[in-house]
Subunit: 389 residues, 2 copies
């Protein structure tokens, strides 16, 4: 299951783009703060303060309330340099786009029987609280993108960009909010109807839940986070690592193996199974590295990427061609050269005939797993001074 | 969010019951194999071999095919000692319960427009392949439990038991299959209708997916696994740990703090947020311990419990009374005494006036987090010989 790796590669074929942010990765006392995490707005306050419909309505009208707009899996950005997620206040929403706060999806407490059939509504969810006020995400997928992209001078140049394409250009705060908004609104769109009874569902608790409008059902649905394991598989004897590629990757791009965690399997069992299924390689010991939220997964779902370093106990590769186009062992020299390309901000190979390995940029946990191996693993030959590099 | 902790405590109030299995926890070379993981049937073969409807139909009829029955979140068990998950072959299904393989939920390739309105159907999913053949789970919630519980001598005494109540009595293989069956069938029941268009959905890929029957929609839904963090919060200076309790726990039962991982937060951020929200305690460094699937979560959902040991950077507790009834720091002496109760298989305190701490049994990751702290953490005073115990 390569979806998780696919997503960050499909739209980031330009090395130039992704390296722009490579030195901006923030670190906490606990280690790496991955792209999409480290959001410096307070999410806890949404559940603590905005659960009631009236509180949410008040927050929409509060001082400093700011609205980011989403169209499908794209976010409205100001294309100046540096690029920024575009936020509008309620007045601007009205004057620029003729959207009033009254048009936001009604909550369960104020819907009528003809919910959704009266006025055009825009799903709106709370993202969190910042020092300047509440931040919201509004879904405008029911209108043409063009209506939002041509604006006056004061607003800057506005354009909808797929969140996947913004990985390398938005700052840590904005990319996390863009990912959260796009994935949560996508989840709301995919849960228009109750799975239990087929009735209409509506957003409640500031977008933190959906609730069935049938009074006999009252089912609730919760935003979904899919656990995914991603593993750096190393062969310490030969000082090599196992990387795979899909046909949609750019030429010679390889990355760590990854896949969804199934019901009733531990993270470790999922690593073992996925690596075996995709590459035929058996895995022995493994250790946890770090975790990265990835809100641009399958169907814009939010994944929880859990990264492991694992030691192979076999060497012979048997590729599952349904999942991978190729899978190989790469030497320390090859991986170090690929990492240097990222550091030097030089683009990777651009044609199929190239023999030079290319690896994902620092926006991806795979990059940090690989970099960690480069920095900490000492091969037997290296340790004795006979460095194969 | 205490749901994950709640579930294993509500139905296991008898210490006697849970300690029966305490020495049966299997270990892999990688460490603990938690309850609900370590299933010794091959799940991979379901996706690899049974995706097509025809392959699934053939597997149902194959030699050795065995069927476990579920009613709501309960599994049919043979109540002999030791208790076992009850499996029937196709012939027994017919003779004992008048269920034929033709009555299993039709797949997308063979449904008509009046899907679900013709004959009584039983949702059936593949659990995996064992040495003796394919194992399946069948949902018989549409019939009375009594019809299945009184059977002939040859079958033993059959009874539906909530999976939560079987934690301490079934062996590693059976409890994992019971959890997988109950939670996956519950997920199927909760996804009768398409969230996108409201049409009927049916099981496909041997129960690994659900598919919308609308030809214009074709939406697919995937079984859900919810990531949950659970943390042992320690204060190394005072040599204490932070444990909390809910009002539904048995008297003096306390456990680790836990909660769902939100979209766009890392596992580490979720630990920090949950501990802060529930107890007011700030958390600094943390390290990963292990992971446990927990298929008896909210609405019988399957959770992925990810366990951390975390170091507190503050001491003053502010309890969120919506989540917790109580939350306290416990000394090494108190925790060691509670662990001894489990080892000695003695029941914990049974009345509210007791002052003796009680902790969860070895079926729960919380137990192993606590035990790990007891075994590895050396308090400064202990190390110098002035043991506070």
């Amino acid at each position: 299951m390569w979806e998780p790796l696919l997503v960050f590669l499909m739209f980031c074929r330009s090395s130039q783009a992704f390296t722009n942010r490579m030195h901006s990765t923030r670190r906490s006392p606990l280690g790496i703060v991955h792209t999409f995490s480290g959001m410096d707005i307070d999410r806890s306050r949404v559940e603590a303060e905005l659960k009631e419909a009236s509180a949410f309505q008040n927050a929409l009208r509060s001082h400093g309330a700011a609205f980011a707009l989403f169209h499908g899996t794209s976010a409205l950005v100001i294309t100046d340099s540096p690029m920024k997620l575009a936020f509008h206040d309620a007045e601007k929403l009205q004057t620029l786009y003729e959207i009033s706060l009254q048009q936001f999806e009604p909550s369960l407490t104020c819907i009528s029987n003809d919910v959704g059939n009266s006025i055009p509504i825009y799903p709106c969810i709370a993202l969190g609280a910042s020092a300047s006020g509440w931040a919201f995400a509004v879904d405008v997928s029911n209108r043409s993108r063009n209506e939002f992209e041509v604006k006056n001078e004061a607003e800057g140049n506005l354009r909808f960009e797929p969140v996947r394409a913004l990985l390398a250009t938005l700052n840590q705060r904005d990319i996390a909010m863009a990912g959260l908004g796009a994935s949560t609104l996508a989840w709301h769109r995919q849960h228009q109807f109750c799975g239990l009874c087929g009735s209409r569902m509506v957003a409640v608790e500031a977008g933190g839940r959906r609730a069935c409008t049938s009074e006999t059902c009252r089912n609730r649905a919760y935003p979904r986070v899919d656990p995914v394991v991603i593993a750096l598989v190393q062969d310490p004897v030969r000082d090599k690592i196992l990387l795979g590629r899909q046909s949609v990757y750019r030429p010679m791009m390889y990355s760590c193996l990854a896949g969804y965690v199934g019901p009733c399997e531990s993270l470790e069992e999922a690593v073992r199974r996925e690596v075996k299924e995709e590459s035929g390689i058996d895995v022995g010991e493994m250790s946890y590295h770090s975790s990265q939220p990835w809100p641009i997964g399958r169907g814009a779902s939010c994944q929880m990427m859990v990264g492991f370093t694992a030691t192979a106990t076999s060497t012979e590769i048997h590729i599952d061609t349904n999942e991978l186009e190729d899978c190989r062992w790469f030497s320390r020299a090859e991986v170090a050269e690929a990492e240097e390309l990222v550091v030097a901000r030089r683009p990777g190979p651009s044609d199929e005939s190239s023999k030079t390995l290319s690896i994902p940029g620092p926006y991806a946990i795979a990059h940090h797993l690989i970099k960690n191996w480069l920095s900490t693993t000492k091969a037997p030959l290296q340790a004795s001074g006979r460095n194969k590099l």
